[in-house]
Each structure stands twice: as structure tokens, then as C-alpha cells.
Amino acid sequence: MDMIANWLGNTPDFAVPFALAALGLILTERAGVLALGAEGLMLVGALAGIGAQLAYGTPGVSLLLAMAAASVVSLLFALMVIVLRINQVIAGLALVFFCQGLTGLLGTLLEWTNKPVRGLGAIELWPLSELPLIGKVFVQNPLVFLTPLIFLAVVWLLTRTTTGLRLRAVGENPQAADAAGISVLGYRLVAILAGSALIGLAGGYISVLSTKLWIADMTGGRGWIAVALVIFARWSPWKALAGALLFGCIEALIPQLAAAGIRLPQYFVLMTPYAVTLAVMIWVASGKQVSGSQPGALGVPFIREERR
């Protein structure tokens, strides 16, 4: 009983990074930019968050700086895909490797590795927190409670505003958007910056609020899982949130199993998030083909004077 209560209680904490990263990816990809760089940008956010936390010790500021740092680094990606029109797969991979190298280097040179920081205290959502079994779900740090609100805001932006309509038009059919006088490149740039900020926040969450320290490559493939999550959520924020909860559940279960004294080969247990990602991708792919929800121009660079 206790184990299940703990498990459920820990799930949101593990789900939030997936959710925020997936949301950032959706925002970018709805504008037609294939964003494979999430893994790298999360690392940048995580390192910047820890750096700020070590310097100022204010988690709010640290998270904001994590967002800003990821946005700044994503300018490099924007330069590659928007201005220079590099193949977006190559640009995304290069960004991941660049960020891995950069954060590994800075983390060591600045001696930020393995230094614990103080995170953020938990808030109890009384009276829900008194509920049996699921009470612990409502004792979380503030950002957990903020996450659904961020989702609401992004969904509202995408579906209920003219700006969102234009952004989606840029991702679906940039030629049409251009002929309608919308700045395709401008919208894509903003989408990259804003999406990367969310991805950076996801990284900052992991380092500042979750593990409370920095280790090189600490995101351990979560950025890639988020990329997969967006594919099987068919670019829908709410489905991505549900998927994030699923992965949160799985990750939260791992320490619970160990704590409960259930003896399983440790490294096989650690494989589960990756194996589940693969399994879900295969399951979704072998089901009924739901096409159409993928942005029509995802990954296609835009040039006006192309002769067809």
C-alpha cells in the first residue's frame, strides 16, 4: 500500500520533464521545424540551472536562466535551419552533440559537477493532499502544479489565437502562409526560441528540482524519449501530457521496486523506459494509420523563390 502511495506520489515529479520537453517540441514542430535537439537543449537547461542555483540559490531565477540559456543556444539551431537551410536532421543531431560537448566541458571546467544544491520545497494542495493513497500526488513542488497551466496556455495559444493560427499555417503550408503575408521565417524563429525555452525548463527541472545536482549527460536520453512521445501523441499537447505521465509512472517505479526489496536485475530495470519507448512506437505504428495530424511541412526548409 505504502509502496503504491509513494509510487503515485513520485510520478508527477518524473513526468514533468517529459511533459515540458514534449510541449516545447510540439510548439517548435507545429511551426514546421523538426526539433531533434531536445536532448542537448535539456542538458543546457540543466547545467545553466545548476550554475545559477550554485551562484544565487533562488530556484525561480535558476529555472528562468535555464530557459534563457536553452533559448540562446537554440539560436545556433535557428541559424542552421532557418537562415542556412541545413537538413534539419543533421542540424538537430549536430545541436545535440554540440550541447553534450559544451555542457560536459563547462560542467567540469567550472567545477559544478556533483555539487548538491537546495531545491524547492513542496506545496500541499490541501485538502486533496489528505486523501488516502493518492494524497501524495498533491504534495509537490510549485512547478508541478504550474505545468498543467503552462499546457493550458500553449494549447490556448495554438488553437484560440490568430497568432497560433498563423504559426500552424507556417507549419502546414509555408507557401500559403507566405502568400498571405505571414513571415514564415519569423514565426519559425520565434517557435524555436519559445519551444527551446520550454525544453530548457524541462532540463532545469531535472537538475535544480529533481536530482538537485549536475552530472555530465544526466538527461540520459529523456530528450529522445520526448521526441518519440511527440510522434506518438500525434503533435497533440494533451496526448503528450498523458504519455509523459505514463513515462513518469515507469521511471517512478524503478526506485520503488528497489526500496520494496524486490530483487530484479538492476540494469534490466534501468532499460525499461527505453524498451517501453520502443514498444509504444511499434504498437502505435502497427495500429491504424493516423496520419494528417503531422504538420504538413515538418522538416522542410522554406525558400520563396523556388521554382517548381
Partner: protein
């Protein structure tokens, strides 16, 4: 018609990667007139109008609106000057509703500055769309998704879009190409009355009849230059043809073939049902050796799907496609198809026939490589391949090949098509499947391509030509099937009555 100039372009030049699309073109349209811009494919009509609409930047030349020089830095500027263009390939965001699409193009001008939330703006716009549509006699539901609209309806949305954005200079790029005769007539009536109210309408077209019937003036373009502007009532169609083509085009008289035994039989060919609708809905046809069977019809009635199914491209179908003496043609691997000497000339040249990034020689040689002519799997006999390629290029008159290692993408449309034919015909075909063979080709290249198809037929091949160009079908076919809503609705032996075919093309059951 007033005498005031609405829009004037002078000395406009534009080139694409070394190819001169426009050379010192001049064009003037006045308020209150329908001005036709006439020319062959590739004459530069669309490029010139894309410059007028702010999409392309010219290398030289000037643009005047109301005799004032202006510069356009993009479509938004053009919209500010009340220039609106309906492109040949519609610029609609498919999953969006009609109202959402129109909202995208609405400039933020005092007249359009609708306050309130996004929803309120959409509601208000839907009402305006309703009014405007009623005014023009269009039946459009503003809440419908544009992807579920027919081509004619999508075009109406495009027209509503530019008019609601306040356009007074309306450019229509090949508007009748995708419409039935009746739809085209209604459209041209509508735009004429729009011009009569004082606007300027520019009609980009290659159809002489549209020009004769609806245009007040016509400017003829050829090879990137504007040749002449004249009154369409004062010239004959023959004269207009001479101006657009530049030489007296000899239209080939049809020469009948001598049909032999049956070679291909299609029975009950259907696509899977999607939303209660089948793109291919029971195609029956029979093709004999030594004849050309033409499939006519308005585009989008299942021609592409039929072509894909026959040419072995991915296309789910049920029913029979039987190659006599072999069996189900869909079962044949692409290597077997080669061995069976089936030649395919698809419509999308660089999408399915040629790899533009690879060399001319490679594009030629890949057609015969399976048979082992160029060595075993472990060895490629490049020298022999290049010799064969050189001989075929000479034999099929492919021009513009500076070197065999040159990228195929650098060939012009006509020469690329000749290269495809050279490859496909390199082993005397027994079955030739052709889709829109002269799309984008000039008169001379078209004649050459048609000649090749006739030669293949005379050598005993069974030839199937699918084309949306009725003139092409009439010029080639010994028998004509009319495709409408996914089936062959009528068959006509040669000589066929053009009117009857036209009627079968547009009649709906």
C-alpha cells in the same frame, strides 16, 4: 473600361539559376478590363505575375500602380496595394477551415481591424464570407475544412480570400485549367462582372477560347518576352496561335493503327473505400497490341491513381489487372516488369522517372542493368553503359547534354522526357503506359514525344495514354475512354466526337 492604368510593369527581367525566365517584359492592365496574358507553358506568364504579386523580386524593371512607381518587398506589400493573386497551385492550408484560411490573408488595415478575441473575429469573418459569397453567387460553407472541398470550391475560396483582403487588381493564374467547361464559364462570367465594376482582372491562360470570349485585351508572351498586346476580337485564333507558338505549329493528323490481340485487361479495379467514396470505382478496360488507347477526363477523377496502379507504384487497389500471358501485373516486381518489356512514362518526371541528382548516363543505364547487360551484380561495366547512353541520347535526340556525367536535373522538361523515353524504349516495349506525356513541353518536344508513341504502337506495342489534355488524347488515340468519378463512363472509337467526349467528362450521375 477606363483609360487609366491600374498596374504597369516595364522592362522586367528575372532569371533562375542561369535560366532566363523573363527578359525585358512589359505589361499594362487598365482599370475596368479583363486583360488576358496568353502563352505556352514556360513562356514566363506565372513568373511575371509572381513579380506583380510581390512573391518574386525582379532583377531589373519597374512596377507602377496607378502610374506611381512602387516597390514590393513581399506579398504583404502587394496586398497593401490591393493586388491579389489566385495561384495555379492553390495556397490553402488544407486542415484549416475556409474562414481560417481567409483570416490568414487578411491584412491589418482599418477596414479589417476586427477587435475582439480570435473566436469573435472568426465569427464576424464567417458572416462577411457569407455575404461576399452570396454577392458572387458562390455556395461556400465558411466552417468547412478546405481539404474536403472540390477543386472548384477551393478556387472560390481563393477568390474570396483575395477579394475580402480588399484586392482591386485581381490576378488569376490558369484558373480554368482544373475546371469543367461549365464551371469555367461561370467563373469567367463572375470575374468579368467584377471588372465591369471598375476593378482590373488579369487572366493568365493558355486557352485561346477563354481569351476570345472573355478578355478585353490580350498580351501574348513567348520565351520570357511580351510579344504584343492586342484586341482579341480583331484577331483570329490562328493568329493568336501563331503569336504564342512563334511558328506555324503543325498539328499532327491522326493516323490509325492496326490493333492485334488483347494484351492488358483491367476488370473492376477499385480503391479502398475512404469516407464512403472510392477514388477508383470499378475501372474496366481492355488494351490490344498495336493500338493507342487514350483515357480522357478532367484531372482528379482517379487518373493518377490508375496510373500508379498500372505502373507498379504504391497504390492499394482491388480487382484485376491482367497482363495476358503473365497474370496479375501488380504481382510483378520492378525487375520482372523490366523483363516483360513494360515501359512507363509517368507524369511526375523528377518524382518517379528520373533521379535529378544522378547523371544522365546512370539514369539511362539503370533501365537495363537487371538483365546483366552491364555486368554481373559484382561488377558494373561503366564503359559499355556510357556507350549505350551516348548512342541512345543521339538516337532519341536528347539535347542539352554536355556530358554524360551531367546531372539529369539540368535537362529541360522536353529533353528530360526524351531521356525517359530513350530508357523505357531501349528494349522494344510490348506495353507502354503513359501519363500526361507532354505536360510542360513545348510544341516541338510534344510532337517528338507523340511521334515516339506512334512508332512504338506501329511496332506492335500496346499503348495506354492517360492525359487531362483532350487535344493530346484526340491526336494520339485509336480508342478513347472517358474517365469520370473513378470509372470509364464511355468509350469512343476513332474518329470521336469532341462534344460528346466533353459531355461525358463532366456529366455527373
Amino acid at each position: 473600361m477606363s483609360t487609366l492604368n491600374a498596374i504597369q510593369l516595364t522592362g522586367v527581367s528575372k532569371s533562375f539559376d542561369g535560366f532566363m525566365a523573363l527578359a525585358q517584359a512589359d505589361f499594362t492592365a487598365k482599370w475596368g478590363e479583363v486583360h488576358a496574358l496568353l502563352g505556352e507553358n514556360g513562356a514566363g506568364k506565372s513568373s511575371l505575375m509572381n513579380i506583380a504579386a510581390g512573391l518574386y523580386a525582379p532583377e531589373s524593371g519597374s512596377l507602377f500602380i496607378d502610374d506611381n512607381p512602387v516597390r514590393l518587398s513581399g506579398p504583404r506589400d502587394a496586398s497593401r496595394y490591393r493586388i491579389g493573386m489566385v495561384h495555379q497551385h492553390f495556397k490553402l492550408v488544407k486542415p484549416f477551415s475556409v474562414a481560417e484560411n481567409i483570416l490568414l490573408g487578411l491584412p491589418e488595415q482599418p477596414g479589417n481591424a476586427v477587435r475582439g478575441s480570435h473566436r469573435q473575429r472568426l465569427r464576424a469573418l464567417e458572416a462577411r464570407i457569407g455575404e461576399k459569397a452570396a454577392e458572387l453567387g458562390f455556395a461556400i460553407d465558411p466552417c468547412q475544412a478546405t481539404e474536403s472541398l472540390s477543386v472548384a470550391e477551393q478556387q472560390r475560396v481563393e477568390i474570396l480570400k483575395v477579394l475580402l483582403a480588399g484586392a482591386r487588381i485581381l490576378i488569376l493564374d490558369e484558373p480554368t485549367a482544373v475546371l469543367t467547361d461549365q464551371e469555367a464559364e461561370r467563373l469567367l462570367e463572375t470575374v468579368r462582372s467584377f471588372a465591369r465594376q471598375g476593378a482590373a482582372v488579369i487572366l493568365v491562360t493558355h486557352k485561346m477560347s477563354d481569351v476570345k470570349r472573355f478578355a478585353d485585351r490580350v498580351t501574348v508572351m513567348r520565351g520570357g518576352r511580351t510579344i504584343q498586346t492586342l484586341d482579341p476580337q480583331s484577331v483570329s485564333i490562328a493568329e493568336l496561335v501563331r503569336l504564342t507558338v512563334g511558328e506555324s505549329a503543325t498539328t499532327h493528323a491522326h493516323q490509325p493503327g492496326t490493333p492485334g490481340e488483347e494484351r492488358l485487361r483491367v476488370r473492376g479495379l477499385r480503391s479502398p473505400e475512404v469516407g464512403g467514396h472510392r477514388v477508383l470505382n470499378g475501372i474496366d478496360l481492355s488494351l490490344r497490341a498495336g493500338e493507342i488507347y487514350g483515357i480522357a477526363g478532367v484531372g482528379g477523377n482517379g487518373q493518377s491513381e490508375l496510373a500508379n496502379a498500372l505502373m507498379g507504384l504504391p497504390e492499394p487497389t482491388e480487382g484485376d489487372i491482367e497482363l495476358i500471358g503473365f497474370g496479375d501485373l501488380r504481382r510483378a516486381s520492378s525487375e520482372q516488369r523490366r523483363a516483360l518489356r513494360i515501359a512507363c512514362i509517368p507524369a511526375d518526371r523528377y518524382g518517379t522517372a528520373l533521379a535529378g541528382e544522378l547523371s544522365v548516363a546512370e539514369n539511362f543505364g539503370v533501365g537495363q542493368i537487371h538483365g546483366g547487360r552491364y555486368g554481373s551484380f559484382f561488377r558494373l561495366r561503366r564503359k559499355r553503359l556510357e556507350e549505350d547512353a551516348a548512342a541512345a541520347i543521339a538516337g532519341f535526340d536528347v539535347q542539352g547534354v554536355r556530358s554524360l556525367k551531367q546531372k539529369a536535373a539540368l535537362l529541360s522538361g522536353g529533353n528530360a522526357q526524351k531521356l525517359v523515353i530513350a530508357r523505357e524504349f531501349s528494349r522494344e516495349p510490348q506495353l507502354v503506359l503513359v501519363h500526361s506525356p507532354s505536360r510542360g513541353l513545348d510544341v516541338r518536344a510534344t510532337a517528338a514525344v507523340h511521334g515516339r508513341l506512334r512508332t512504338a504502337r506501329d511496332a506492335g506495342a500496346a499503348v495506354l495514354v492517360i492525359s487531362e489534355d483532350l487535344d493530346e488524347v484526340l491526336a494520339l488515340a485509336d480508342r478513347i475512354g472517358v474517365m469520370n468519378a473513378g470509372r470509364i463512363v464511355a468509350e469512343f472509337p476513332h474518329p470521336a466526337d469532341r462534344q460528346a467526349i466533353g459531355k461525358a467528362m463532366v456529366t455527373h450521375e
